[in-house]
Amino acid sequence: MTTTPEKSAAKATAVETVSVTIDGVQVDVPKDTLVIRAAEQIGVQIPRFCDHPLLAPAGACRQCLVEVPDAGNGRGFPKPQASCTLPVADGMVVNTQATSESADKAQQGVMEFLLINHPLDCPVCDKGGECPLQNQAMSNGRGESRFVGSGSGGVKRTFPKPINLSPQVLLDRERCIVCQRCTRFAEEIPGDPFIALVERGAQQQIGIAENAPFLSYFAGNTIQICPVGALTSESYRFRSRPFDLVSSPAVAEHDACGSAIRVDHRRGKVMRRLAGNDPEVNEEWITDKDRFAFTYATEPDRLTYPQVRDEDGALRPASWPEAFSVAARGLADARAAGGVGVLTGGRLTGEDAYAYSKFARVALGTNDIDFRARPHSAEEADFLAAHVVATGPDGPAGGSVTYGDLESAATVVLVGFEPEDEAGAIFLRLRKAALHSNTRVLAIAPFTTRGLSKMHGTLIPTAPGDEPGAVASLLGHADHGVDATSVILVGERLATVPGAFSAVADLVAKSGAKVAWVPRRAGDRGALETGCLPTLLPGGRPVADAQARVDAATAWGVDSLPEAPGRDGDAIVAALGAGELAGLVIGGVDPADTADPTATTDAIERARFVVALDVRASDVTRAADVVFPVAPVVDKAGTYVNWEGRPRPFDAVLGGPSSLPDLRVLAGIAEELGATLGFRTVAEVWSQMEDIGPWDGARATMTPVAAAVKDPLSDPDKGLVLSTWKQLLDQGTMQAGDKHLAATARPAVAKVSRAVYDAVGPTVTLTGERGSVTLPAEPVDDLVDGVVWVPTNSSGLGLLTDLAPPGARVTISGGDA
């Protein structure tokens, strides 16, 4: 699945190589390779601590010293050299600890030094058992310390321990060997240099500034790359021993990045999650959300058995067969009484999404299905059908935007998309591209975010609603024109702006730039690919295309598929509210995320029959007539399709007989409905998906939508235009259960222009069509006039419930502190 893109392969062949001799073995490596990595090529592991392949060389720990009798010019180095900072040279001769006594002695000497001030607390240290210091002390150190026996007995340097660097990350300074991996990571990778070296000599330590904790969205990575047990997390420390853990590869479920992770579990319980190493995708980094937000699956409100609504109106436990049959009966009645809609959320795997898609068409006979549990538009669906679906690194349309493309692009334009909050791996890759490949990042947004400045990006100041004009202006722009070497990343939020997706499509057509759509949720792209849209069947088959319908019907072995165009999410909600639709199958939807939360909640209440599939109890399951517990992602196999269109398959990490994926539940209901879906397992779904494949007929085309004519922003009586998105860490239900993680979230503040701040003060009350919120305000110097920004889900019931939809007008006044 993760094949190397052709262009990087082509690049690799063009690289100049040099020949070096390491421990008597000649090896050809690319020019500028560091000796420490050249040695890996011949199977020699030189011990190291500060060295990390993704960080700039430091040469601080001196553990990797080697002897260099010939630097390639016939002369040797008189002293041992740090192999982590020494690039190879043609003809260089290197002797490592494997063949050189002096290299071995140098390494043993450094190891002995490292250990004199290191506590011997391995038996109680979290790192014990997976500790590079422990391991390399065994392989490259002496068995007995000379420190304690020297002089009058060595005295170690001590510190009070541990101290908090952030609410989540703790530092044990005694264990720290000040290799600077963490500080270099913080500065180089996310650009959050909130930790730094302080003091000197043996007192040198990692520290934070007063009142400036290590609040980086990526802080957890430092724990993982710490080569000793100095950095630990509140959520894992003292919980487990590495050798008691079972490690399973998995894919993170919190965004559309498809980041590889490793889940470490013990006796059926997840103890921690780590970043996996996938150079094509997330390299070795993940967000703190991907790392720490897994306890939602073990919250007390987890559903563990099916429930049906009893005659007395209360939900009661039911057996699986009973629940299947009650659900089938109710859905059959509802179908007859007007129809059943299907609403799915972002947590679904591709296989589960496929099951909903097929269930809607085959069992319910409807195209009323939508995965977009958020504000959406028909224009967006058109755009997805025309430009996104069935593209991918290996897709038939081929050549979709990849992470690698972000590094090679001359310009990357962000529209309706804030990578640091909405897709952490993209943020890191764009920062890397900006720093090392001179990629220019342009953001069409109302103000320069912290993330944008860390990507050294340029703001194209744009108020919500003005994006179509801003996008159009990029064609042939004098300063930052977009051309075929550019990449445009559009966020799902653009759906709230009429004409924006059309403007993007137009710019792409005229400039030749590549475009990618970046949703927030892990399951969205897979749901698009499998047809959880009213206009698309699996594989990008347009519902409106008779041939495509026949193709899908044939693959599914049914006579025909519904022809009538389906309702989208908003229309399903409206139809339920109006009584036009009688039933609803809903899975993984939080009404607070939808365009009109009250309407969605009302629709669920008013629907005659609701079947809910969910992991945890919610207002949706409490209102449902039949509730099926479904497996959280850790309990099931599946595939996410990330924003690139790259399938990211994974196996079940845990599992249990009562923890079933959505697809199994839907198969059970369908059987009771007399409409067999032909699968009961993930593997069977996958094989059906492979069989049906992507559509090879004509792609849908997009009908351009004109941008709305807007009120002039300068009219203060009409209030401010609301700009909003979700911060990475907020009140999302999948972040429940880790209070330490929650404490690292950015607080809810209203960002206002300096003039507004000066006028209404440090606390503001915003009032919109749905209510009022009072928040601390923060002045932002380059915020577009007439705009206020508030995080979508960091306070109250969420902005869509409490205030107004994005792009609406809100009034502002000084609030009570």
Binding site: R62, G109, V110, N117, G151, S152, R200
Partner: protein, 440 residues
């Protein structure tokens, strides 16, 4: 017997003059004539003159100054910088401080000529933060030079612009290491940088940078005034010119003795009136505490780069600390080692952890604790630090230990057999004799 004619006062010649640090006095004695001459010369000719003079860096390492200047890539479009290392912090070293106190204008003049030669329009003088009086004096001299038109725009109608920034360090020995100095100058934590890139290519603000010691730069005006042949007529074959020798310790008249390189310690002791009355030389450092110490066997070695290297030590900063037979070598070495432990920046393991351990082992020996095996352990620790650390600070920390064990192993052992120091620590002090007498 040596007499004062052995001395070659150039930098020190005006130190006795009333208000020598002021511009009028400096100019009345010929100051800034070299600048005016240099401004009429081709810049490459100045570099060539300094090269031909054989001037080698006076900060300790002895790298040829003219060659360092010629490494500056003149096709690099970035600005070029001259940085003067005035972070004089090495124990025993005390030549730049009095030079800047007594004759700051010779430094300023040297900075202008040197900056002109390497095409730098901004120069920095990084002065050790603790010597506030020196910082003020150099600042005053720079201000005077601006007022006189020696600095600023279009200096003396030459079309050449130069600004000098006097920067105060924040109190770290490591900032005398040139790349750590650059970090400090940029406002960062003072720790040495990875090389390459070398400062000549990417130094201050990643631009081509020359970093020279105060005395090196202050020597430039005299080379311009008298010519390279004059300069190279002094000194020895490979160590040309004059230098300030700073004598301190158990000598009758401690102080600064400016003499040709290659002079011997015997001559210098003669010039300074001999060792303390009634005492003999026991050991000495040729160039600060980081240079392996020598004994009275080495009195007649030429004090030049080659002579000292031949004896297994270094000329260093010519900070000659002299210790007579009342001094406990273990005590002296422990004090130096404590200094290195305190000043280790912490960046690399051998220096950070090694100095921590060395102090403990040495302190135990001074108290008479431990065993003779600890001496071999000390030497092995030194071997594991020397050449293994990130910069030369770690190397320097080992020098006094390994050299003192080489020459005075018996004295170390005596501490162990004696159950502590066999010497009277008071006897080595200036008040010691009175104390000893009254106590007796």
């Amino acid at each position: 017997m040596s007499d004062v004619s052995t001395l070659t006062p150039v930098l020190t010649k005006d130190w006795g003059t009333d208000r020598s640090w002021t511009l009028p006095v400096y100019e009345s004695r010929g100051g800034y004539a070299s600048l005016k001459k240099a401004l009429t010369m081709a810049q490459d000719d100045i570099i060539a003159a300094v090269k031909d003079s054989g001037l080698r860096g006076r900060g300790g390492a002895g790298f040829p100054t003219g060659m360092k200047w010629s490494f500056i890539p003149q096709d690099n479009p970035k600005p070029k910088y001259l940085v003067v290392n005035a972070d004089e912090s090495e124990p025993g070293t005390c030549k730049d401080t009095p030079l800047m106190m007594a004759s700051p204008h010779v430094l300023v003049e040297g900075v202008i000529i040197s900056s002109f030669a390497i095409r730098a329009n901004t120069a920095f003088i990084y002065i050790r933060g603790e010597i506030l009086h020196v910082i003020r004096r150099v600042q005053a001299a720079v201000a005077e030079a601006y007022a006189a038109g020696h600095l600023g725009k279009d200096i003396h109608g030459s079309g050449y612009d130069l600004d000098i920034v006097v920067h105060a360090g924040a109190g770290a020995y490591i900032c005398g290491e040139e790349t750590a100095l650059l970090e400090g100058l940029e406002g960062r934590r003072g720790q040495p940088r990875l090389r390459p890139p070398f400062p000549a290519v990417a130094g201050l603000y990643a631009s081509p940078t020359v970093i020279n010691n105060v005395e090196s730069i202050a020597s430039v005006p005299s080379i311009i005034e008298h010519g390279p042949a004059w300069f190279s007529s002094m000194g020895t074959e490979k160590s040309k010119g004059y230098g300030i020798f700073s004598l301190s310790g158990h000598v009758t008249r401690p102080g600064q003795y400016e003499a040709p390189l290659g002079i011997t310690l015997r001559e210098l002791i003669d010039l300074s009136g001999g060792m303390r009355e009634g005492h003999q030389l026991k050991f000495w450092t040729p160039g600060g505490s980081s240079t392996p110490l020598l004994t009275d066997e080495h009195l007649d070695l030429p004090l030049d780069f080659e002579g000292m290297a031949g004896a297994g030590t270094m000329l260093g900063t010519r900070a000659i600390q002299l210790f007579d037979e009342t001094t406990c070598v273990v005590r002296a070495v422990l004090r130096w080692t404590e200094f290195y432990k305190h000043e280790s920046c912490g960046k690399c393991t051998p220096c950070r952890e090694g100095t921590w351990w060395l102090v403990q082992t040495l302190a135990a020996i001074e108290r008479g604790e431990g065993s003779e095996a600890d001496l071999d352990l000390l030497l092995d620790q030194c071997e594991n630090i020397l050449g293994r650390s990130f910069c030369a600070l770690g190397d320097g920390a080992t020098s006094p230990i390994s050299s003192s064990i080489q020459y005075f192993r018996d004295e170390y052992v005596a501490h162990l057999t004696h159950g502590g120091c066999p010497l009277d620590p008071a006897a080595s002090t200036v008040w010691g004799s009175s104390l000893t007498r009254s106590g007796a």
